[in-house]
Amino acid sequence: MSDEKKFAGYICTGCGIGERLDSSQLEMIATREGKMQSCKQHEMLCSSEGVQMIRDDISSEGASHIMIAACSRRAKVEAFNFPEVAMTRANLREGVIWVRPDAPEHQETTQEMADDYIRMACAELRSLKLPHASGEQSLNKTILVVGGGITGMTAALESAAAGYPVHIVEKQGALGGQAAGYAKAIPTRSPYKEPRDTGVAEMIAAIEASGLITVHLNSTVAKTAGAPGRFNVDIATESGAVSNETFGAIIQATGFKLYDPSNLQQYGYSSSPDIVTNAELEKLVKAAAGGPVKRPSDGKEVKAVAFVQNVGQSSSEEGQLSYHSGIGDLIAIKQAMYFKDQNSDCDTTILFNNLRTPGAAGEDFYRAGQEKMITFSKAQVSEVVPGDSLEVKFQDLILDEETSMQADLVVLDVGMMPNSGPDPYAVPIVIDEKAEAASETPRAPTVTVDSILNLDYRQGTDLPHLKNGFTDSHFICFPYETRRTGIYAAGPLRRPMDMRQAQDDAAGAAMKAIQAAENAGKGMAAHPRAGDLSFPSFRMDGCTQCKRCTVECPFGAINEDEKGYPLFNESRCRRCGTCMGACPVRVISFENYSVESVNQQIKNVEVPEEFDEKPRILVLACENDAYPALDQAGMNGVEINPWARVIPVRCLGSVSLSWITDSLNSGYDGIVLMGCAKGDDYQCHFVRGSAMAHERMDKVGDTLSSLNLEPERVVVYEVAITDIERAPKLINDMAETVEKIGLSPFKF
């Protein structure tokens, strides 16, 4: 294809556009002002004839840039799908005629709205290039799995089953992880009645038999550099030897550790060897090798065992876990069965509050436990008193009384804690030793953990944490999306889970890893802009090495070179444009989205002179939530003020302050920014984008005051996709504000 640009405009007159608007005027604007070399009208542009017309222009007329003025960019996407050209769309349907009343007195302003959207779409188009992959990308199908427990082994086997080579790096001298120490596992197949074999041995055998899986035992990841498709990893063995491998994607399956109940005096864990954790019981059972379980203190056969559930969990007390492991009750049932299956006369009592045995499997297993005569008591345990016979004191919540029971062995259900590396975004806590010494209350134990991935990233060595150290995704709909592209967490590292869930989770993570490797090979973006070929590039001669882009990228995609210039790693990049919004000198851009492409839209809106009394309100709306909300407002016939000009942005984080200052300078009267929810329950698809934008806009007041403008002219909102009434109202409110405070003095 030649490099010659050819601009073609298309105006649809269907869906009432032709009736409501003067389409020949639109065409004239497209060609004269918008500089489209051709502009055609069609009564139903999305029909096969309309689409064919465009296709013909592309193939025979050499149209390289096309502007489609029709419905919203969210509608008829399949019809207007021309991946071989650069394209913009002017939203005349949802964005203009559906949000404006069909009455003669509104005709003029409605037409002006449409005129401007044509100008904007043409202007944007002139600043776009068809994105091409950089050519830096390479396909590397090998997957690195860090951690050789059940999750890691499953991830490896599942990846290999799809034909992808895998390396497992395991810190210990053998595969199997925690599960290798278990006697048995919770059942994974219907009827979910009997504990089953852990399957560890079979999995190890399958890994050994696989020609695609390489295992590094006694090894850790010493360094991870690069990006998806070209991760460059140093694998260090205990002996100090380091080997180097390259990978397409990484799965972190480093599992969990258990909560230490030593500090919980009431359970007497430190005072008696016969008070054990659930993990320690597994060892006792394994040691018994099918015979009766002996208690640690005197080797006497255990004839009565009490399971104290939810120890140090679901608690707001300092030093305890605020969450619940979710599987402790299933484990207790399994463990009580060890005793019952060995000797049905052994008394087994599970002291629980809310019995958490969810799903079909959970409820089946609960019933199976009851059938084996495990006693279940809804209880609040207050104390375990050590002694030859242990006394468990509790409040029986059903019988509503303080009572106690005797047991030879007490098993504490302690919670799972993620085995994650240090959180790159943890606020460093400066511990004041003097204050601590003076303080009465004991501090939560501060554990410094070693890095697991040793990422050579500007923003830290490991996967960011969510809450309580879990590296889970925040997104309900997209559970695998971590903030480090191409690195996926799996298993109890993400949230507490049992082996069945961990195995399903491992398969999911393997899916994402394979996908990341494949797409990195094609130079395509990962979720949520999957398939996007554009990537950020920067003009080095303008860069001031301020590092804002490297600090603010939500995905840690940008490193710095030795001089402090940004080093973009395109396959780590999610194409949100937060770097672009961060850059004070406007040197960062994408081929299909740039400071210029939006600036051109802003500039090409016709700002009427002051005496026309027609204000202009710029709306920068996140394309993921706010823009769809405005579209739906159109479908519902909710009115939007005719002074508004809406520009969809990739993420509010991509908003450049220059857009604000430039639009104010060119006479806009108000600016409304709409991003997604930020904070703990953020809905921003790029995690920090919206929050960044809000922070930056805090400082916009200075700009406004330097221009002698009222602060209320620029407002930032969190808007949800469901804000179908509210989003238009926010725009209309700005129109009222402008009416109140008057037009901008910056009009020409």
């Binding site: 869906c15 008829k76 034909g163 219907s190 605020s322 958490r356 089946d364 997209f478 809905q683």
Partner: protein, 428 residues
Amino acid sequence: MTEVIATNQTILVVGGGISGLTAALEAAETGKQVVLVEKRPYVGGRVTQLYKYFPKLCFPTCGLEINQRRAKMNPNLTILTMAEVTDIQGDAGNYTASVKISPRYVNDNCTGCGDCARAVSAEFDDEFNYGLGKRKGAYLPHRMAHPQRYVIDPAILGTDEAEKAKTACKVNAVDLEMQEETVSFKAGAVVWATGWQPYDANKIQPYGYDRFQNVVTNVEFERMADPNGPTGGKILRPSDGEVAKNIAFIQCAGSRDKNHLLHCSRICCMATLKQTHYVQEALGDEGKSTIYYIDIRAIDRFEDFYQAVRENPNVSFIKSKVASITQNKENSNPVLNGVDTEGYHRYANEHDLVVLAVGMQPSVDKASFPVDIVINEEGFIEPATENGGIFAAGCSSDALDVNRAVQQATGAALRAIQVVNRVAGTEG
């Protein structure tokens, strides 16, 4: 005639809810050819009918928008709506599926302009709102429906109404002659993701869902709480349209019960805890919620959410499976009878509205399943090797919340890919 281009390397995904959609998209975004078959006229399934998700209280349409955009942009994905798989023959790597496509009476020309709906006056119970509102005989099932194509209700066929719709359409999208058709095509692997249905509350006779207007289900309550729903987000009593302020939630309505669903449906505890937020949001301190439960199953990270609701003075918890509901004839208030089992306290509590937390019944019909597969006692598909190249995703495999369903569906996509990659390996 619908044409489906597929080979032994194609992945067939049955069901276009959040699980099916996820499996389809993950596979398609890995470069695999995928055909997605969905019974409803649109994708997204039941999550489209939810107001908010727990625990973030965010909006399901937010993720739906992203998923639909992924679907619109992806050339590897073919979506067949109003379509059902009637038969699957063959083995892993070589299946032939037959799919029955019901007529929509609206073709691809549809621009979603809504002229047909404006022309038609006949109204029907709106299934999207569980019959709590009305829709036209020509309708877009919901505002974000994808494909954005209207549907003509077969009930207006042969009437003036149908003709009105046809005449109103300026782009010749209304095709009243459209016929049911059956297409068959190849697939290497199948992801079965037909999801779930709310357990039929009429079967829980003592709760009087069929007799008392002020007894509703949790799925209906989702629509009632949604500001874009049939009541505009007001929580109103069906009997008199008054605002319901004192609301009871009955857990395990059908779940954990050998007379109904044997399994625990996992999500209902969290769904109810979430719905107490709706009450709080709509009514502030005037809204009171009472939860009648056996065990609150707020698993793992959801504990925080549970504790926060526990601390809300407007929400109370009673450990009891409600025995029966009667009605105060004077004000149509439901009266809940039972025993609080913590201690021994009998109650006969009057409420304005009762929400039954009905369980998840898997939409896996053992009797008419198109292919031999291992289905367990509860009706979920087992992860059995005997299932060959057929893999359950989401609530076809277990009672799962959205997050877990998506997680599980992502894994199911990989298992399907393993099969088609083996086919590709042998076919070259």
